[in-house]
Point group: D2
Chain length 402, copies 4
């Protein structure tokens, strides 16, 4: 099991999700069986949905909670609004945008792929060109990965909306917000998003098991004519059941109870405070990378993700060795490079619950691994850079001696 006695302790994880679980959310999820056909279940479900709505900043969009994962959320998104042969516009600039493209292709959709560098943002200008050229509105949906978890790049979704508007194009805007929602600002209504997808195990700091999918009114309408096969992921069954406080099958009651509390907690803290907290922790990690002389995968500061930092190791060095060593020797989990970044980068996830202390401890472990593997990194150097960030931006105690 994960717990091997006093010999080791449960270290925080630094993977870009699932995040470290706050005690109060673990306790909320861990509940005795509650009859999911009773009114007590509706008393959990409806506030959970309302909470997601507020976190994702929509007034009226429909929220669906599937016993599944973000991948199931992607499938929910496309299968409910598209039909085989439909054209879809998507950019490939990381492993997760690539996987969604792959899923579309396997569902028989005609994906127009815009290639972009892994480390670049979503090319909204290229989108605009293509959409403008698509006079017949063959393209039915535009995919956008808000935060590429592979590269640590956040893209400008508002710019994609502007591209659609500039082109006067009616395609639906489908956004992967898996590793952004709840940790970085996501303005469903203001950005004109039609479908947003996230999961329980990222910004909501819960165990995995829930795909959270949000549909705009336009997306809801598209369901009527979409012909892709769906049954488990059919939002019409889900919507009808939910309205009655029910589920079309057995809901993961504990996760829904947790989601309600997670949303409440984020809103009570204040979303702006939550987002600033993420940026502050991320700033420290980026300062450490700078001190080590290692560039980020993200090409410019406007692209820096606040939930995951992808750090490039020197040419010729196998970055995966750091992650393996951290796991094997120091019982600490980081993310490896994925796809074309494999071996070239490692990833430091810093979403959800994390303290200054925890972030510093992750950096300290990385330094030991780097030294162990012969990288010319001075022990304590990255830690010191992050310490400087954290201590100069720390929240000062309210009561201070005169």
């Amino acid at each position: 099991m994960a717990d091997r006695g006093g010999a080791t302790m449960q270290n925080p994880v630094f993977i870009p999700g699932p995040t470290n679980l706050p005690e109060f959310l673990r306790k909320a999820v861990d509940m005795p069986t509650l009859d999911h056909r009773s009114s007590a279940f509706a008393d959990l479900l409806h506030p959970a949905i309302a909470g997601v709505r507020q976190v994702i900043k929509t007034r009226e969009a429909e929220v669906f909670l599937f016993p599944s994962t973000g991948t199931g959320g992607w499938e929910t998104a496309i299968s409910n609004v598209l039909s085989a042969g439909d054209a879809v516009l998507a950019a490939r600039h990381g492993m997760f945008s690539q996987r969604w493209i792959d899923m579309c292709q396997r569902h028989g959709l005609a994906v127009e792929v815009v290639e972009a560098a892994w480390g670049a943002g979503l090319p909204a200008d290229r989108y605009e060109e293509i959409l403008t050229a698509d006079k017949e509105h063959r393209i039915k949906a535009v995919l956008a990965t808000h935060n590429e978890t592979a590269t640590g790049v956040v893209s400008d979704i508002a710019a994609v909306r502007r591209a659609l508007d500039a082109a006067g194009h009616p395609a639906l805007l489908l956004v992967d917000g898996v590793s952004s929602v709840g940790s970085m600002d996501f303005c469903f209504d203001d950005w004109g998003v039609d479908i947003a997808v996230t999961g329980s195990q990222k910004g909501f700091m819960l165990p995995p098991g829930l795909a959270i999918v949000v549909f705009s009114a336009r997306a809801m309408q598209a369901c009527a004519t979409a012909k892709l096969a769906r049954c488990f992921f059919d939002i019409r069954d889900m919507g009808r059941s939910n309205a009655a406080g029910l589920y079309p099958y057995t809901p993961p009651v504990g996760l829904i109870a947790g989601l309600r509390l997670a949303a409440d907690s984020l809103l009570a803290e204040g979303l702006d405070v939550v987002f600033a907290r993420h940026k502050r922790i991320a700033d420290g990690v980026r300062a450490a990378a700078g001190a080590w002389g290692m560039p980020l995968c993200a090409r410019s500061p406007d692209l820096y993700s606040q939930t995951v930092t992808t750090i490039c190791t020197p040419p010729g060095f196998n970055a995966t060795g750091i992650v393996t060593r951290a796991a094997d020797v120091y019982q600490t989990a980081f993310g490896t490079g994925l796809g074309e970044l494999a071996g070239k980068v490692f990833r430091f996830g810093h979403l959800g619950q994390l303290s200054d202390m925890a972030a510093l401890s992750g950096l300290a472990v990385l330094e030991m691994c780097m030294a162990d593997l012969g990288l010319p990194v001075r022990l304590g150097s990255g830690v010191a850079a992050a310490q400087e960030v954290y201590r100069t931006t720390a929240v000062q105690p309210m009561k201070q001696a005169a």
Copy 2:
């Protein structure tokens, strides 16, 4: 929340799943985040799969664990081995067999439906006639609901296999074992089952969130030619990842840790002992129904389910009132009648962890509800009938005074 202070206590539930959660499984599921790309995850996954294999009595079939529910398991079963337009043979004799038929139809399958009484078992003889008549082997799959959770009826899967064999028919045998596996005998290999479906929240006594699907070698082969769209539920992605100790997306690690322990626990107790334990508890519930003068929905003793008992109330009486009153007044959950049985029956779930004491307490609550609603049931009469069953079959203490 479910817990309203000292005023009420968490009563056991008597719904036919999710079951009451044993302490040790709740604790196993409630774990800190473990990196699902680490070797520690494989150390949970592979034993969990091996455990399911033993519980379902197969030597070599492939086991897949999807973050989903039994409904997702149904979809996994059909979408991986069938193509649009394929003929499927199925019996409708309860709400859950009906729902699986409905799913097939929504996926474009041509379902040949055999109607049977709700309360009857699966008509293997009719299956044999139809399969024998299908000389062209148009039928690609035969569906069978092992335990109809709506009616409390267990069907003879070995008889379905015999029907297929007698007809010399190559159709795949797909079995819904959602409310039977782990609680009643299920002989995957001996019955020649091709795909079996269950969930975490029934015989394995875990929270909901896992579809457990088992594929025979023949079913695995059928994947190659099956054309129904699938991506999230594609067993090929899952199989490849699992072999490497990984997942194609984020796995519900806690549930997998729990599944491993649940299977270990069932096997340590001994499957025969587990099944006998379920029958013994069910015998008490059936005795109580007899004492109340209420017939079972299941038409004959060979059809009696050991996991759920569906009890018919007198004509003209609204059975749902009992369930509502039990919930509202006595904080106790039972199952209502579903579909054409709505209002005519109520259901007492007795699968998973249950003690004599707990079963008796459920019966006592039902009697109070019946009395409250004016049914001519003598208080204590059903309890006494069950007490007689339990005390005469109780395991005697090992050490007794001379």
Copy 3:
């Protein structure tokens, strides 16, 4: 361990404490280590103390929480206000009053023991005679056991206060409220109690580990001259530390966090509602005893405890056999007879969290044991009597059909 897999389930206990633990209190107690010298600890301690004050109905008395048990609470009470050789007046009418007397004697106190029947209440009239006769005020303290857990007898503490007042006697009134506080009305101020003792594991529904001791202003003054040795249980150290939000040694932080929540919960429910709830459950148990033809140990209805019922079995029958059999065969815990009641009675604890369903299940198990052991008790008879009590007094659902 307590959990032996699916084979058995955690049945509720029916011992007169520790009680069944509500989920929310278990979760409150189970917390990560919190620095007990930090301000966060004071934020738990002070509300916990304030909550106890409200539950025990005192405006200003001092509350002390020792890492100990009720027995430690007794020692705290006597050792802080008495000196060797001091006379103490006490009644012996059950095992717990006897044990307190024994403790006094071991501390060198001169106990004037009033013998009363085990099943009788505290003889306030005898107290008055003795106190009146004690013109020299040799008696420094009067002991009173509010609820004799051995006999299921509640005594009239206000009457003891009246006896003291009638005699114009200045002795301190020390009350054992271990199995009453939080479950039955306890009016510290109105009854003129000087020291009250209880524990965490009874009406507060927490695990054992805390002695809760309350001192009036007069009792506080007595500390200054009391000469019995005390150090761990010295309320002066404790009081000084607590005032600063600290402890003289390591406090059981989880239990204190739980106590705060337990008190909040009782107060939110309303103490009168809590007490009525206990009486209602107890009424059902007493009705069952009546149906079995078994007298209570408590001699008259005014003496009936609402937290434990002591039931007499027929002469010649060994009552302990019932308790043993319930444990061995039905995994259910009841209390045996203690001291001179051993073998003659068994005890049904019904304090803290308990539902109708749970109480009925305890009665049903007792009936099976009785039948197993050859007692002429009709199965279901006691259950039926309790069902009648519970269903006629059940809280009706708020929303009802017209």
Copy 4:
């Protein structure tokens, strides 16, 4: 509460007890109510006692588990073997040795106090002189604090035994092992210890609430004639009850279940491995102090405690400010200086469960606090020193590339 949502996370604590709680022990302690008069309780108690015996390295000494704390353990030790007026020999060289002396005096014992520097070890040579001079064997007990939690000094208990033997003195040897047992070697039998005291919340890594007291055969004999008042802490009641698998009052069942598992875990890991693990973590902390240019309170390496390091700040600086700032700004708990060390030192507790990562994070926080408060400490310097210790002594992974 301790948990304030995603805004902060539960950081490890660095106080010298209670320690960080391992998951598996938290789960063991958090159990439903188990009847403490049932045989299931004995099945927890007796292995727990046997486990303590092995950890403390005694074959036959009696182990007692009181619902209390280490302070209660001290009281148990002295009150069971001494009488008022008895002479006791003790050294004062830290706050905890001072407190035990104070307790003895309050119990009317005549303590011969040997003053030693706070930072020095126990002066066994002075003990020998005094004992040799005590020809009449007026001294009945010798107190020794194995690990002074205030100063971070471990003393040589074997040397005290040698002093007793050299003097041919029959006094009992009473040892405070509160912050050593389970983390540093403690050889009850080999050192000729007569009574050892510890608690649940230190080396056993459990929540507070248990005093663990071990009595040699000679100490057991002394009980017969000891006249100090004791009742709650009377080992004779406890021993008699325990022998029957019972308790003289309500035991803290969860802690006893946890203690059993904690002892099993330490023994499975191997005591030598456990002790080496503590030393390794402590070495890193001491290296950091060296890098900061801050001396330890412990005067020489042979006195270095492996469970707590007491670090001296520069003259004129208020060391408590570091601890306060760590708590207020970085939500991290360290220990302050106590008694005459107040303001001059801070303490880093590193007993029980701790990882390299966690230790480094504590050091990183300390550096931020020091920088914040104007101490001339270079950020990252202490971390780097500890990193060097940890990475050069890390357990290498078993499987390595060729």
